[in-house]
């Protein structure tokens, strides 16, 4: 019994310690930001890594999610005779929710895990230590460019996901199920608000970008420098990012709708 309580205490203390380390780590990364201006090329290179290489999975998933939304939405809406609002349903679901959330989940699985593994292996092969010995701070040289690349890439990826999803919904709704194309778009335009819906989605995806990339680079940097340690860190990145995204999504949605 006492052992169980002590274990609980130990878990809490270790968790807090990790949290503290993560906080200090992020502070250090932020502090190195001014030096990043002359390292624009590095950020660019990382945008390629986390953004462009994630593009394919985002586009394909977005298309299919949009198509499924079209099918499912039509099936329900047609019962009320309001299949004209299919465009609205698809657009709102994607822009407000699915775009940012699914993109963040895919990002964590594709780019986040890769970032953690890369940084963890750099640590395991003494590349980070070597940099330190060359008087180069790895936080500004390795971590910060990756972090900012993730923060830049995420909203763009989410926007692409939503856009292609809406096209997918259009494909199914208008092409397959003969919803009127005019109604599809006009209903959407009439009811989707730029600030309330689209900007909220963008804000969400920026927050998710900070969280997912932050977790990924921290886990890599904090990994135990062995093959097992890197594997566990990669695993943690995906699990923690996904949980953080889903939890934060609820909180952000509640804040934005202002109903809590």
């Amino acid at each position: 019994m006492i052992d169980a309580i002590r274990n609980l205490g130990r878990i809490i203390l270790e968790g807090l310690e990790r949290f503290g380390r993560a906080g200090l780590f992020m502070f250090e990364v932020m502090r190195g930001t001014p030096q990043l201006r002359k390292r624009g090329a590095l950020v660019l290179q990382q945008v390629y890594g986390v953004g462009v290489l994630t593009l394919l999975i985002i586009l394909v998933s977005g298309l299919f999610v949009g198509m499924v939304l079209g099918l499912q939405g039509y099936n329900t809406l047609v019962k009320f005779g309001s299949e004209d609002t299919l465009g609205l349903l698809v657009a709102l679901s994607l822009v407000r929710e699915l775009g940012p959330v699914v993109t963040a989940l895919l990002f964590a699985g594709r780019a986040g895990s890769a970032l953690t593994a890369e940084i963890g292996l750099m640590k395991a092969t003494e590349q980070l230590a070597g940099m330190e010995m060359m008087a180069v701070n790895p936080l500004t040289r390795v971590i910060a460019p990756r972090f900012y690349a993730g923060v830049i890439a995420m909203p763009l990826l989410a926007a692409l996901f939503s856009a292609i999803g809406i096209l997918g919904g259009h494909l199914v709704g208008v092409g397959l199920l003969s919803v009127d194309a005019g109604a599809f778009w006009s209903q959407m335009q009439a009811k989707v608000d730029f600030y309330d819906d689209i900007m909220n989605g963008v804000i969400k995806s920026i927050v998710f970008g900070v969280v997912c990339t932050g977790i990924a680079v921290f886990e890599g940097y904090d990994a135990v420098p062995t093959s097992e340690g890197v594997a566990r860190a990669t695993n943690r990145t995906v699990v923690y990012s996904s949980l953080a995204v889903l939890g934060l999504d609820f909180i952000l949605t509640a804040l934005m709708l202002g109903e809590v």
Binding site: Q45, Y48, P155, F194, I198
Partner: protein, 160 residues
């Protein structure tokens, strides 16, 4: 060479992302119509606004010229005070224009329709629209129909 290819891809990626964002903004969302430039505020009082909501459109002859910016209660008269933000380009509305709350379609949302009057003076910021027609509340409408039917039916019976 490899670097150029990478830069090209990143450029394409950023351009595509921004294009998607602007598609969302202009094609999906209503950024083009949402902006009320150099707007001015007028208000109107209604007995009942039904299901009117903040941000509902304000139209003139069916064309959207503004949106509802706030809804409040006038404590003294127990009436609803609706403030609307109108587009500055349409600043020549007569002062005695009227506002009515209408419904788009049978189940659609409610909006405010403005009807121009005949006055020489124009509406200015802070003015109050005097002539208003409240929302049609379905239950009241049905109630009225039944009442009228009963009355006319009763009269008919009496005449017989």
């Amino acid at each position: 060479m490899r670097r150029n290819v990478m830069e090209l891809w990143v450029g394409l990626f950023a351009a595509a992302g921004l294009a998607a964002l602007s598609m969302l903004a202009f094609k999906v969302g209503n950024l083009t119509t949402a902006d009320v430039v150099n707007g001015y505020r007028v208000s109107a009082q209604f007995d009942n606004i039904g299901g009117l909501k903040v941000k509902a459109p304000v139209t003139l002859a069916g064309v959207r010229i503004g949106r509802v910016s706030s809804i409040a209660i006038d404590k003294g008269h127990y009436r609803a005070v609706v403030e609307m933000q109108l587009d500055g380009r349409y600043d020549n509305l007569p002062k005695d224009s009227s506002a009515s709350i209408l419904t788009s379609g049978l189940l659609g949302d409610q909006y405010i329709g403005l009807e121009p009057g005949g006055s020489e003076k124009n509406l200015e910021s802070g003015d109050v629209i005097m002539t208003t027609a409240s929302a049609l509340v379905l239950e009241k409408l049905i109630g009225q129909v039944i009442f009228n039917n009963n009355q006319s039916g009763g009269d008919g019976n009496a005449k017989k």
